[in-house]
């Protein structure tokens, strides 16, 4: 989660954009819901307040889709991207959002098929980039290789890259 925000920031740096990435501040517990944030802009900005009205919300854990916290501060213009095997419409209905602002991608299934485990974080990045075009896909992939290459090894990196590409293409196809 925090790594996904870190990857997006690194990709923004490669694209010569201005960015911030920060976790929800405070102690972390294994398994507890966690939140991480990004600000990305093509121009310099100076803002160190917390983010309360996001332009884009990404929910990686589908079990959180009923939680009130995930729609806090989400306005009509915001984009909501969820990891879910459902269609966008019922997800939007449950969250009280407009169907047009909700996107779903079955990142967990794609992760199982590409990485071999239900680790949907990188797969979700493909969806985020596919919809928002905030950074080029290639920059995300290059950043992933550099940041995680040593830790994951070449086989798992390839799986992660495949996951990113597939969610990117799936969401672009719609």
């Amino acid at each position: 989660m925090v790594t996904a925000a870190r990857l997006l920031a690194g990709a923004a740096l490669r694209a010569d954009k201005y960015f911030q990435a920060f976790p929800e501040f405070g102690p972390e517990r294994m398994g507890a819901p966690i939140v991480a944030f990004n600000r990305i802009s093509s121009r310099p900005f100076s803002n160190y307040s917390q983010i309360s009205n996001p332009d884009v919300v990404v929910v990686i854990d589908p079990t959180l889709l009923g939680a009130e916290a995930v729609i806090a501060g989400v306005g009509e213009d915001a984009i909501f991207i969820a990891n879910s095997s459902e269609e966008a419409r019922p997800v939007a209905g449950r969250l009280g959002l407009e169907p047009g602002q909700v996107y779903v991608v079955d990142a967990s299934r794609i992760a199982r098929e590409t990485i071999g485990r239900d680790i949907p974080n990188t797969a979700m990045l493909g969806g985020v980039v596919g919809i928002t075009e905030i950074v080029p896909l290639d920059d995300v992939i290059e950043e992933l290789k550099e940041l995680m290459g040593e830790k994951l090894g070449s086989e798992r990196i390839e799986g992660n890259i495949e996951a990113i590409r597939r969610t990117f293409e799936t969401i672009r196809a719609r």
Binding site: A9, L13, A21, F25, R43, S46, Y48
Partner: protein
């Protein structure tokens, strides 16, 4: 970002800075990484430190540099912050270049040693990731830790972005070691808000940093056996007062050293540093004084404030010790109303520590400016754009005599 061409003051970091240094690399770093990176480039003789959230990441990362042989530092792992500062003082007295880092309760545990470091004129550089003091226990940002240490004799520099804390740590080495100054320097950065935030940092080449700081030049070294001397002897009513008077002088000399080092750093890095930063103050009717990350947030909001037809400016305080009293008077006495934002409370006092300085400076200068105080962000409570807009709106009412100055609290349940 500004659509009207931001004006900056003479003491400020100006927009038309010299060209960036050759070999500068833009990296994505968190505040804690940036401090560790600066420490790696400084390559101090001794680091003694004890971990405490949110400073821990600084020490962790630096200890990796030590383990990997990227620095030649003697890294002393100690059992407490009191011991960390004691070890730093000993090493500095021996003639070493010394650095450390801490936060909140760790700084509190160093207390008696802080005064000793300053009175030994030991130019130790310490990064402080600002965090609230217990109790109740809280790990998030406010400035009560370093504000409490304001009278300990340390130079105090506040940073408001990740890049600034990197730049300030490097400059602190030169400032503290300057001739006639020889004082320890604290470099503050907001805990979590800056320490755990990843953003762009223009990292200088190692060689540039090394040539900027120069080799350590031990003065009054305990290891210089040809010139034996004593540190910390009994000093009663015969000379203690004179020694304290010299510390006062050293702080005065520091003002020039800070300005000179900031200019020279600008030549080396392309990033000029002044004693303070001024934004849209030239024609300002009202102004806010702030430090730390909040000052950066306000800076980003100034165009919006101007769009609201508020002639608002910002004075960002970089140095809290020595305090820029003359600059505050020069830049703010023409304004009608000034709000001072404090991220710490001074219980029983007539406002927060920054407010007391600004209010005193303007009052003694006979300025007619109304000065008001806002306490905010204790224990990491967020300061939002709405809060800041409210401050500027309050100021315009104050300037017209429709609101009385006083101490108010932003974002607290009352």
């Amino acid at each position: 970002m500004s659509h009207r061409g931001r004006r900056t003051g003479s003491g400020a970091r100006v927009l038309r800075a010299p060209a960036p240094a050759k070999g500068t690399i833009v990296k994505a770093l968190r505040g804690a990484d940036a401090v560790a990176e600066a420490m790696r480039q400084v390559n101090p003789g001794v680091v003694a430190a004890y971990p405490i959230t949110p400073q821990t990441d600084v020490v962790e990362r630096f200890s990796e540099f030590v383990a990997d042989g990227e620095v030649g530092t003697e890294f002393v792992t100690v059992e407490s912050e009191h011991s960390a500062m004691s070890a730093c003082i000993g090493a500095a007295a021996a003639g070493c270049r010394v650095m450390t880092a801490t936060s909140a309760n760790g700084l509190a545990l160093m207390w008696e040693m802080l005064y000793i470091a300053a009175s030994y004129r030991a130019p130790i550089v310490m990064a402080v990731a600002n965090r609230a003091l217990s109790g109740p226990i809280n790990i998030h940002c406010d400035h009560s830790d370093s504000m409490g240490a304001r009278d300990s004799g340390w130079i105090q520099i506040y940073s408001s972005t990740v890049e600034e804390v990197y730049d300030n740590v490097i400059q602190a080495v030169r400032i503290g070691e300057s001739k006639d100054v020889r004082l320890p320097v604290m470099v503050m950065f907001d805990g979590f808000i800056i320490s755990h935030l990843l953003e762009r940092v223009r990292v200088l080449p190692d060689k540039k940093v090394q040539s900027f700081i120069g080799p350590p030049r031990p003065v009054y070294s305990l290891l210089d056996i040809d010139h034996p001397l004593t540190y910390g002897p009994l000093d009663l009513f015969d000379y203690y007062f004179e020694h304290k008077r010299q510390q006062v002088d050293a702080m005065e000399y520091a003002e020039k050293a800070i300005t000179d080092v900031g200019k020279e750093y600008g030549q080396v890095s392309g990033r000029l540093y002044g004693y303070y930063e001024a934004h849209e103050l030239d024609d300002a009717e009202v102004a806010v004084v702030a430090l730390g990350s909040t000052a950066s947030t306000i800076k980003g909001l100034i165009p919006e404030i101007r769009d609201e037809r508020i002639k608002g400016g910002l004075l960002k305080v970089r140095l809290f010790r020595p305090f820029p009293t003359r600059d505050v008077v020069r830049r703010l006495s023409a304004t009608k109303a000034v709000a001072v934002l404090d991220r710490s409370a001074s219980f029983g006092a007539d406002g927060g520590p920054l407010y007391l300085e600004v209010s005193n400076a303007l009052g003694r200068a006979g300025a007619k400016t109304k000065v008001t105080n806002y306490i905010y962000g204790l224990g990491g409570r967020d300061i939002s754009h709405e809060h800041i807009m409210r401050v500027y709106q309050d100021l315009t009412r104050m300037a017209r005599g429709r609101l009385k100055p006083g101490t108010r609290y932003l974002g607290v349940r009352e």
